[in-house]
Amino acid sequence: MSEKILMKGNEALAEAAIRAGCRHFFGYPITPQSELAAYMAKRLPKMGGTYLQAESEVAAINMVYGASAAGVRVMTSSSSPGVSLKGEGISYMIGADLPGLIVNINRGGPGLGSIQPSQADYWMATRATGHGDGHVFVLAPSTVQEMADLARMAFDLGDRYRMPAMILADGLLGQMMEPVEMPDPINPADLPPKPWATTGTKGEREHNIVNSLSLVSQVLEDMVLERNERYQRIKEVEQIAQLEHTEDAELVVVAYGAASRIARSAVNAAREEGLKVGMIRPITLWPFPTKAIEDVCATAQAFLSVELSTGQMVDDVKLAVSGRRPVSFFGHSGGIVPTPAEVLVAIKKALAGEVFHILPFHSKLEAGD
């Protein structure tokens, strides 16, 4: 391991991807992921790799599809409107069992929305990155260190399970600078071989086919079911969450990414006041860490989901809680980041037994506070 260096989240992610053996990047400009692409444009050509600015996100993800079919580690990065366009290619990658990293530096939506931090793509990432039955890994960093660590993990998981992996972050994490310890570099030549890849037969084997089409329904169903079995296995063994102060917590706050940093401040403030509050921070959003939530159901009296959206992950919290405890929600959307003080108010409400779904209107905030 090397010493810590001060880096921007977007750049740390890019450097970690290179160190994970990724030499191919295809993207299309969009704020707020620009530093990531710029970093790749600077580094990759100098190391015999490819940085290619595609004509669109649609093209970029299909280039990822092609390069992944050729067996190399490959990635693209974008932000919400661009990720919508990648939906087609992601669906084809799922259907053809191709790995590959897709970074979404989530911004406000829908439509062109804003360029401010947001978590409103949670549903898109975990429910419907494209058409059809299928999933991608969704990893949610909350520090610059995790931007780097999860990039490595995304490539490893993707290759192991032959699935695309998405890092869902936001402009806050992308732009912020923190000290980071970079993982040791991997030489792409040392990565495990991919015998299924379309590398040319060299006259030594039958042809490989990378394909998502199956005109025989039974064959397609069998393929979908095989993939579904893989998903079930993944749900068993790949859930990751960080637990803070949950042992004696009466209220458990659930928050990921940038929202978890604010929620943590509020939880700590509550603790200072002697309130029994803890936090679960999902790191894998798919597979969602249901086990961590089920485990604390034994002791926690209530849950509070805090998000930069109108309430999306709260669905998964409710599914995991499965009616055993009340689940409340507090959030901001449109690129507004809540303050710890606001979250603390919500924490106290939930501790007092209230069950709510609060989205403060700006006008109301001004009137109230």
């Binding site: 191919h24 295809f26 490819t50 290619l52 595609a54 004509e55 669109s56 649609v58 093209a59 970029a60 299909n62 280039m63 990822v64 599809y65 092609g66 390069a67 992944s68 079919a69 050729a70 067996g71 190399v72 490959v74 087609e88 290619g89 084809y92 053809a96 379309t198 590398t199 040319g200 037969t201 060299k202 006259g203 042809h207 490989n208 086919i209 990378v210 394909n211 998502s212 089409l213 005109l215």
Partner: protein
């Protein structure tokens, strides 16, 4: 007289599997597909070739070619080919696409792969119609041509004009070869074979993007016998889409 073994004059190309194709009787897809395979074989490129099949009647071409194959989303074959080529530049990458795939939904991918001079070979089947979906208007459907979605004949005022792909791409610096051929007669088949080989040779030499447009027929959706379809192709398509070399970086050498 002692029985002598007669010399082999014609062999099945090993670049094709022995799978029976799904093309309709009399469709020219089969001829072009075979020419592509023979070219790979003759140039010794089959072992390093990776083909990209489109969405269209050639969608399951991955079962017919014996080289490695990738199936692409509708229109995205040039982008997929770009990824394949950038990852492994030593491989021979080709796409095989219809006119809806290449010139409508995939036009952005086509033009940009061409202008980048992406070192790939594109085989473009222009049959003036959407074959696979049952005969709708294509970007290459001729003015006045009747299709399922231009039942009164293509009205260019309402539906716009057809696109001449080779002419359009010939203005781009990245294009090494843009040639239109047809496969309606044995001599034209020979010319087409030569053009396709040239496309692969240019790729081998690293000259950039090559496209061979093949005027083709769709007897099924044109509603004609195969023979009548060939006549219609000669009388209507060839005048509108004249065969020829539209760009050749080695012309005059």
């Amino acid at each position: 007289m002692a029985a002598e073994k007669s010399p082999v004059l014609f062999e099945r190309t090993s670049a094709l599997t022995d799978k029976v194709t799904n093309y309709c009787p009399g469709c020219l897809h089969g001829i072009t597909q075979r020419l592509v395979a023979e070219s790979l074989d003759r140039l010794g490129l089959a072992d390093t070739a990776v083909g990209v099949s489109p969405v269209g009647c050639a969608v399951i071409a991955y079962e017919f070619y014996s080289c490695d194959m990738v199936q692409a989303a509708h229109g995205r074959a040039p982008a997929v080919a770009t990824g394949l080529k950038r990852a492994r530049p030593e491989n021979t990458i080709f796409t095989y696409q219809g006119d809806g795939d290449l010139a409508s939904i995939g036009m952005a991918e086509t033009i940009h792969a061409a202008t980048r001079g992406e070192n790939i070979t594109v085989i473009f089947i222009n049959n003036a119609i959407y074959g696979m979906t049952g005969g709708q208007m294509a970007p290459t459907t001729l003015p006045g041509q009747i299709t399922q979605t231009s039942p009164y004949g293509r009205d260019v005022k309402a539906a716009g004009n057809p696109i001449r792909v080779c002419e359009l791409l010939s203005s781009l610096d990245g294009v090494a070869l843009a040639q239109r051929v047809t496969v309606d007669t044995p001599s034209n088949v020979r010319k087409a074979a030569k053009a396709i080989r040239k496309g692969f040779e240019y790729q081998r030499e690293g000259l950039g993007f090559s496209i061979i447009e093949v005027l083709s027929s769709c007897p099924t959706n044109w509603g004609m016998t195969p023979y009548k379809a060939l006549e219609w192709l000669r009388e209507n398509m060839i005048p509108y889409y004249p065969p020829g070399v539209y760009k050749d970086v080695k012309a005059g050498e």
